[in-house]
Symmetry: C2
Subunit: 265 residues, 2 copies
């Protein structure tokens, strides 16, 4: 369990104090937090809550969405929040195409420019920016960075301690170059996240993720690959699914731990 | 209009004689056929119908699905049907992971083995096999070949006149390597298909395709790229969407031609 981390989105409707208590009770050492529920509970209050519980904050989700008008102030704020929470990593979901645009090269160039702008601020705050390639079904509306190779093409322009990448099994498993790209990523792997792929995908495709072991992703193979590449950090279970969210938090946490122990480590 | 071809799936509920008459009336020179409606109307009868109308059959959809128990006899039958119809190209949708399997490397190896098995039969029949990479959202359940690069890795083992690739804008537009892979593909491009990407994707994601021009794909840029790579063949409009299928066939054909003329050529 040393590397296990519960991404808060997996138990979306579990109130933050209950998530923290549940993690402590289950022997979970780490938690991945999201900005919106943190803001709702209060930033300083959350920082105190998790610190007093002895939980490590493994990531803060998420910065990015560089197509928004206020992307710069929002991302600077997210960096500060990560620093306050003691989260070493701010996950970046980089945004899709601007409304009505087809200019994918332009959108990708803006992602690189935005990260160049933010990197010094992240470095000063002691927070690592982690570019997350999202599955290509999200290219249009969530993230024009669709592969680990593409994420690395950008990350490699920066100090690896300042800009890394997220390897999320759900987003990369289909890619026949992913194992080569994990080798290439090496010390740039800032976060490793797991869940599973099931079909049919639901409308909107966002909430189609299953608990580890319930789908067709070679999770252990991916975990072994990131380990061989030198990654020794936390492994976050991050599941989005209406059926999972409808279950009691304790049950979902227990199922996450079970899937992690059976299928990942 | 010289290169325009209506893929039959775009007007799914239009009876075959009406599709053919509609194409002739609209000055459409080519049609892409599907095995199921052809079988329903009768293979020989369809061949006569389209030949008498002076329509070129641009592709037959589809062979593949190499995970099925009867994949070999089904694909041999599809090759014969293509020959009977005068279709120069049989589109291969290669199949996903076998039920309950996570062995994606194994599934991909079986695709290559199956094509090696079928290639001599296709060559003898004068039919070109065209490997179609499908968008990665279909990797698990429809096609483990997810990129043009992967399709070419297999196709390149064979004579280009016998095994080529399909470039379908919907499946490849998100890929930052697609323009390099189109150059690499060159004379292996056996078919170019267009439709458009819109969000949100519907449940099951199969029927999410829009008419050309209604979404965010750089269709003209892709068309220019396949042209520069040496492709001079038909351009099929292939749209799957419940709303499109609910409209009268004539209307959909007119809208397909309009989108093609405005956004593709």
């Amino acid at each position: 369990m040393r590397r296990f981390s519960l991404n808060q989105a997996t138990t979306k409707h579990w109130p933050l104090p209950d998530v923290v208590a549940g993690c402590v009770a289950a022997g979970v050492p780490g938690i991945g937090l999201w900005r919106e529920p943190v803001a709702e509970y209060g930033l300083a209050r959350t920082a105190t809550l998790v610190r007093d519980a002895g939980l490590a904050v493994t990531t803060l989700c998420r910065g990015g969405f560089f197509t928004a008008d206020d992307w710069r102030e929002e991302n600077l704020r997210a960096i500060e929040e990560a620093a306050t929470l003691g989260a070493p990593v701010l996950v970046l979901v980089c945004g899709g195409l601007p409304e009505g645009s087809r200019d994918i090269d332009g959108a990708r160039a803006r992602v690189a420019d935005a990260i160049a702008d933010l990197a010094p601020h992240a470095e000063a705050a002691g927070v690592r920016l982690a570019i997350e390639p999202l599955h290509p079904m999200f290219t249009a509306d969530r993230c024009v960075i669709a592969t680990l190779g593409q994420a690395l093409d950008i990350a490699e322009r920066f100090d690896p301690d300042v800009v890394g990448v997220v390897v999320d099994a759900y987003h990369v498993w289909w890619d026949d170059t992913v194992y080569a790209q994990i080798v290439r990523a090496g010390e740039r792997i800032a976060s490793f996240q797991v869940c599973d792929w099931i079909t049919p995908l639901p409308e909107g495709v966002l909430l189609g993720r299953a608990l580890p072991g319930d789908g067709c992703i070679e999770l252990r193979r991916l975990r072994e690959a990131v380990d061989r590449a030198g990654y020794t950090g936390p492994i976050e279970v991050e599941v989005f699914h209406a059926d999972v969210w409808a279950r009691p938090g304790e049950q979902v946490l227990a199922a996450s731990i079970d899937g992690y122990l059976r299928e990942v480590v």
